[in-house]
């Protein structure tokens, strides 16, 4: 595995590792690591860094919905055109073209049920190429981006063992 791939793997695991700790874990020197990360960012391979939040533990409400979208295409309009329009809306957190029963999988986030519903009915559904929307409100999140939302695992090991 190249240092670049190894850095990517480490940042995917924890984007808050310091440059020094990344260097120590890969056996590279800190300057080389800083340069490699800059390159990963500049090339657009790394798009950003975000926290994974367990909203069930937060005081404020957070509403998330997965929306299935079906579309019809014509000579002038392709998937990219429709997607290009939808991604501009801030409540859209993710948008993916998928295989199967529907075309796009859209993730929407807002502060209330009302806000999210309103956004889907007023901004998404009226897009002329969209023929159908099926909205699934998220009721509970158990795992997100590889992280379990449970209480974690206690280290039950003895402090010394041979």
């Amino acid at each position: 595995m190249s240092t670049r791939d190894e850095l990517l793997a480490l940042l995917l695991e924890n984007a808050r590792y310091s440059t020094e700790d990344l260097a120590r874990q890969t056996g590279a020197d800190a300057e080389a690591v800083a340069a490699a990360i800059e390159e990963l960012e500049a090339s657009g391979l790394i798009r950003g860094y975000q926290a994974v939040v367990d909203w069930d533990r937060a005081d404020q409400e957070r509403i998330r919905a997965l929306v299935e979208l079906n579309v019809t295409l014509d000579r002038e309009t392709g998937y990219d055109d429709i997607a290009g329009r939808l991604v501009k809306f801030p409540p859209v957190k993710s948008l993916r073209l998928v295989s199967g029963d529907y075309d796009f999988a859209l993730e929407v986030e807002g502060d209330s049920l009302r806000e999210v519903s309103k956004f889907i009915s007023e901004k998404v559904a009226p897009v002329p190429e969209i023929t159908q929307t099926v909205t699934h409100y998220i009721m509970e999140t158990y795992k997100d981006r590889g992280l379990e939302m449970g209480d974690g695992h206690d280290d039950g090991r003895l402090s010394f063992s041979p």
Partner: protein
């Protein structure tokens, strides 16, 4: 009640004193642990649970479930180039530790000299002693990166011994032996007609060079018992499952001891192990990657602190030189003042004295904090 002499002559483990201190303390970060911090892969745990639900709570065949032995045979053939017949050359045991005990009892006669490459796992000397054998310490040296050499074997009279016990990748040093280095040991063993017990429990955990089993060299298969298991690579220590591989007459003899003591290895654990072999390779690969990052992290930190530490390339230990002359005093003071638990090297044999065993089977946050505390302790 009278305690048997052979038990009385074995001192309690040197870890005990530290364990008692740590028990009384809060906020101890332990790098003194000889087991993974990971949990067994979920698929293996689920297989164990399912087997219990299905009522699989009886004994299995003495040698272990046939299906498991077949999977083990397939695995060691593809991974280590070891060919053993699942019918009569593999014995499933309650951890590699039971396998070793059974082998000592099956193969060692009273007075037999058993050479043990040290520093080493703490059970070999007692195991030999309980079986009536005479343990012969064979100290490896830091200047050889704790590898076993023919020069060392010669110098310590191993030529006249009956048996040689070795463990690579090594606990506690993290040392490994390359194919060429192991070939030299194999040659010596053949020339002097020794039986070999090869504890290869850390075989899956090497970083860089791949593991070479001593049993793969010409003329070695017929004189070697290979031990492996699921504790380390699959993070299944508490499930207690290992296996031994040897020619049929040796496995038959070991099975005779095993059947009158253990009867069969834990059934639930055998189901977990079967699933582990069938579907958990990716977890093992991922754990190995994590260990390697931690290994490099810990080695870098010791280098930054100016602590001399040879580059261990296997298991999940590094074995730095102790900054103080008195290793015990250092480990005790570090534990009491900074709450960091390490194991003094002499626990693993005299040749380990002057070193500390540092296990990096801990999360990076713990390792980072432990290293900061060691740095603070050194001032």
């Amino acid at each position: 009640m009278k305690i048997a002499d052979r038990v009385q002559q074995i001192p309690p483990s040197g870890i005990r004193k530290f364990f008692e201190i740590a028990e009384e303390m809060d906020d101890v970060i332990s790098l003194g642990v000889g087991e993974p911090d990971f949990t067994a892969p979920w698929a293996a745990r689920e297989a164990a649970i399912d087997s219990l639900k299905a009522g699989k709570t009886s004994y299995t065949a003495n040698r272990g479930m046939r299906e498991l032995r077949e999977e083990i045979a397939k695995r060691v053939a593809s991974q280590y180039d070891l060919a053993y017949d699942p019918d009569d050359e593999i014995l499933v045991t309650a951890g590699a530790s039971e396998g070793l005990d059974v082998a000592f009892r099956a193969l060692v006669d009273p007075g037999d000299v058993v050479a043990i490459a040290q520093p080493s796992y703490i059970s070999y000397v007692p195991g030999v002693t309980f079986a009536g054998g005479k343990p012969l310490s064979v100290p490896t040296r830091e200047e050889d990166d704790f590898k076993l050499t023919t020069e060392i074997l010669d110098a310590h009279g191993v030529a006249d011994a009956d048996m040689l016990v070795l463990c690579y990748p090594n606990n506690p040093t993290g040392a490994i032996m390359t194919e060429a280095e192991m070939a030299e040991v194999a040659k010596f063993v053949r020339e002097h007609d020794l039986t070999v017990l090869a504890d290869e429990i850390y075989a899956d955990l090497t970083y860089g060079d791949e593991h070479t089993s001593i049993a793969t060299f010409e003329g070695l298969r017929e004189r070697t018992v290979v031990f492996n298991g699921f504790s380390k690579a699959y993070a299944m220590t508490g499930l207690r499952l290992g296996y031994a591989m040897a020619p049929p007459e040796v496995i038959a003899a070991m099975n005779r001891v095993h059947q009158y003591t253990m009867l069969s290895a834990p059934t639930t654990a055998q189901y977990a192990a079967l699933e582990a072999l069938q579907s958990c390779d990716n977890e093992v690969i991922e754990m190995r990657k994590q260990y390697n990052r931690r290994r490099q992290f810990v080695l870098s930190r010791f280098e930054e602190m100016g602590i001399d530490c040879f580059e261990a390339k296997g298991a999940f230990y590094v074995f730095p030189k102790c900054p103080w002359d008195d290793t015990d005093a250092f480990a005790e003071a570090l534990l009491q003042e900074q709450g960091v638990a390490l194991v003094p090297g002499h626990v693993f044999g005299e040749s380990g004295d002057g070193h500390l065993r540092v296990s990096y089977a801990a999360g990076l946050n713990e390792l980072r904090e432990a290293m900061a505390r060691i740095e603070a302790f050194l001032g």
